[in-house]
């Protein structure tokens, strides 16, 4: 029984994993323990991203792990989900980095790029030699990306981009930005390389969440791009939204990792801390909290596993991803808050990982479609009525 708790596998989902999936999970878990965990609190405190981990993450094959060809590992989606889970058990910022690189930037090129673009960028991105970011959100358009103001106009054989993107993960450390812009026909995407005249990135400071991740504002001022930098197959809002589906899938798994860390920390604390006559773990109120946490984590794991099967079968619907993202992130956030409470004063210091996860999960709840936006997506799905406007 003890091991079910330690690995947080109450329903023996391990029995459903192939040995390759388990190996993948174990490899990433070891990477996290050995390389990432020792410095994560420092990076969070300093508002820096652990760039030094990128080469090892690349060697492991984390970037674009579920894409086929172009130097990518070609893992299935369960293995990919497990990678995200292990990364986020360390820090949501570390998982965000991998998500943005893989599910947003690489996937945009993979799904909407020309063969030439794929060959040019994807292998280098898989190797971590080129880092990507994904610019969809704008200062005035978050939940409503369709209202974006960034524009691209044709000038002879070139495109000229103008606009501002905000809240862009990896913005200033990226070698290339996938930028979504309005054209006469609707919305399309571009690959904007660092150093292109008129293109600049500035970091957003003062965050209380995702401090071990870089978040930037991108400014495009008369940025001239050739057709070779246009994602010509990206037509309409559906293109960036399909990237978001990929990223939300990874987030649904990742949230389980953050929740696991919080649960384990709270359980250990409750078993060792004595107040009044006994250990905290011996009080019914505390046990209730632990049981609620374990139940929610187990439910979230089951959702992930089934979602992964559907994704591998090619039958996954975006709405199913919305349910997973909405439920799992919300559950993780509640678990983190509960764990924070159970640690008392120790719950607010960085000696324990709980407050960091709790703060991070506030972002995870918001980005890639807020909790309420996922609700609207599901509401539309089950009623046939769109309640967005």
């Amino acid at each position: 029984m003890t091991d079910f708790i330690r690995d947080l596998d109450f329903y023996q989902l391990d029995d459903w994993l192939s040995s390759e999936e388990k190996m993948t999970r174990d490899a990433v878990r070891r990477f996290v323990q050995r390389e990432a965990l020792p410095s994560i609190e420092r990076h969070f405190a300093n508002e820096t991203f652990p760039l030094e981990l990128v080469p090892e993450m690349a060697r492991l094959g984390i970037f674009g792990a579920n894409l086929k060809g172009y130097g990518c590992a070609g893992m299935n989606n369960i293995a990919y989900g497990l990678i995200m889970q292990e990364l986020e058990a360390c820090d949501s910022g570390l998982r965000s980095f991998a998500s943005v690189q893989s599910a947003l930037a690489m996937y945009a090129i993979y799904s909407s790029g020309t063969e030439e673009q794929k060959k040019r960028y994807l292998p280098e991105m898989a190797k971590g030699k080129l880092l990507g970011c994904f610019g969809l959100t704008e200062p005035d358009h978050g939940s409503d990306p369709g209202g974006m103001e960034t524009r691209a106009r044709k000038d002879g054989s070139h495109w000229v981009l103008n606009g501002t993107k905000r809240w862009i993960t990896n913005g200033s450390i990226a070698d290339l930005a996938i930028v979504w812009a309005r054209v006469d026909e609707g919305i399309t995407g571009f690959i904007v390389e660092k150093g292109t005249p008129g293109f600049s990135a500035a970091d957003i400071h003062g965050k209380f969440s995702m401090r071990a991740s870089i978040t930037s504002e991108l400014v495009l001022d008369e940025v001239r791009l050739g057709e070779s930098h246009h994602l010509a197959n990206a037509r309409g809002l559906r293109a960036p939204l399909s990237c978001l589906t990929q990223a939300r899938y990874g987030i649904a798994w990742g949230a389980v990792g953050a929740a696991r860390t919080c649960f384990q920390c709270a359980l250990e604390y409750a078993k060792s801390r004595k107040q009044f006559s006994r250990r905290l773990a011996g009080y019914q109120l505390v046990q209730r909290k632990l049981v609620d946490m374990l139940t929610e984590i187990t439910k979230a794991q089951l959702i992930c596993f089934r979602l992964g099967q559907l994704k591998d079968a090619g039958t996954m619907r975006p709405e199913q991803v919305s349910l997973a993202k909405r439920n799992n992130v919300n559950a993780a956030l509640e678990i983190a808050r509960m764990a924070r409470d159970m640690l008392g004063a120790n719950g607010i210091v960085n000696e324990y990982p709980v407050i960091r996860h709790m703060l991070n999960l506030e972002t995870v709840n918001t980005y890639e479609g807020t909790y309420d936006v996922q609700t609207l997506i599901l509401g539309r799905d089950i009623t046939g009525e769109s309640a967005f406007d």
Partner: protein, 249 residues
């Protein structure tokens, strides 16, 4: 150079071990299994030797049940070239393991066998030594550094009193200590490649060896629970306790 690396499947060191009520062994349900950590160090060293030499063949061998494939696949994912599973349904003692390995060595003809100094389950620390004796090969146990040049091998070994350097010609058997290296973890492309690497199965009774156990486990007991410490209020009390209770002064 061909290097043979025997690996054993053991419970994850972080697993809580429960002894069966009848004392016949440990409860094996719900245990996470891993490659014996010392064997993992042996594999890492073999891979590094191959990488330094630019060529070579790292062959894994395990003696156990079908489920041991999982650890062999992990070793292949780390970078070993192929694997052999000697299928034995019954448990084998260290002498039997060494004899089976000697047979595999005779067939495979490696120039070097690198093996963990002990397995973390029974900690017997014997297989490498017995194997070297059976083969009539030089052995270096508890290696913390290995250098190979022109068929000659120099090993720094962790002896009780300090470090000892030994040199010998190959072929040889080396057993690994903890500080030899830090094993890599499998990469995802490595995991995908492992799928296609050869894993040969040999039934142990086709080897024609006498494997009847020399060692019999009569009973197994969990170690006694450690008593909680006690706070003493003065040095006098401490001295008194060390003298009358602990009887160390």
């Amino acid at each position: 150079m061909k290097i043979l690396v025997p690996i054993k499947r053991v419970p994850d060191p972080a697993t809580t071990i429960r002894v069966l009520p009848d004392g016949s062994g440990i409860a094996t349900d719900n245990i996470k299994w891993v490659i014996n950590p010392f064997d993992e160090i042996a594999l890492e060293e073999a891979l590094r030797i191959k990488e330094r030499q630019g060529a070579g063949d790292v062959v894994l061998v395990s003696i156990g049940q079908q489920s041991w494939q999982e650890q062999l696949r992990t070793g292949l994912a780390m970078g070993a070239d192929r694997a052999i599973l000697v299928k034995a349904e019954q448990p084998v003692d260290t002498f039997a393991v060494a004899r089976i390995l000697a047979k595999i060595v005779a067939d495979e003809k490696p120039e070097l066998v690198i093996i963990g100094k002990q397995a973390i389950d029974d900690d017997s620390n014997q297989v490498g030594q017995i194997l070297a004796e059976l083969l009539g090969w030089p052995q270096a146990t508890f290696a913390s550094k290995i250098e190979i040049a022109d068929g000659r091998c120099t090993v720094i070994r962790e002896a009780d009193g300090g470090l000892e350097t030994v040199a010998f010609t190959l072929p040889a058997v080396i057993t690994t200590d903890l500080r030899l290296n830090e094993p890599r973890y499998a990469s995802l492309p490595g995991i995908m490649k492992a799928r296609k690497k050869p894993l040969k199965e040999i039934a142990v009774d086709t080897l024609g060896l006498d494997l009847h156990p020399r060692v019999k486990i009569k009973a197994m007991k969990a170690p006694q629970k450690r008593q909680a410490g006690r706070k003493l209020s003065s040095v006098q009390e401490l001295v008194q306790a060390l003298h009358t209770e602990a009887k160390v002064i």
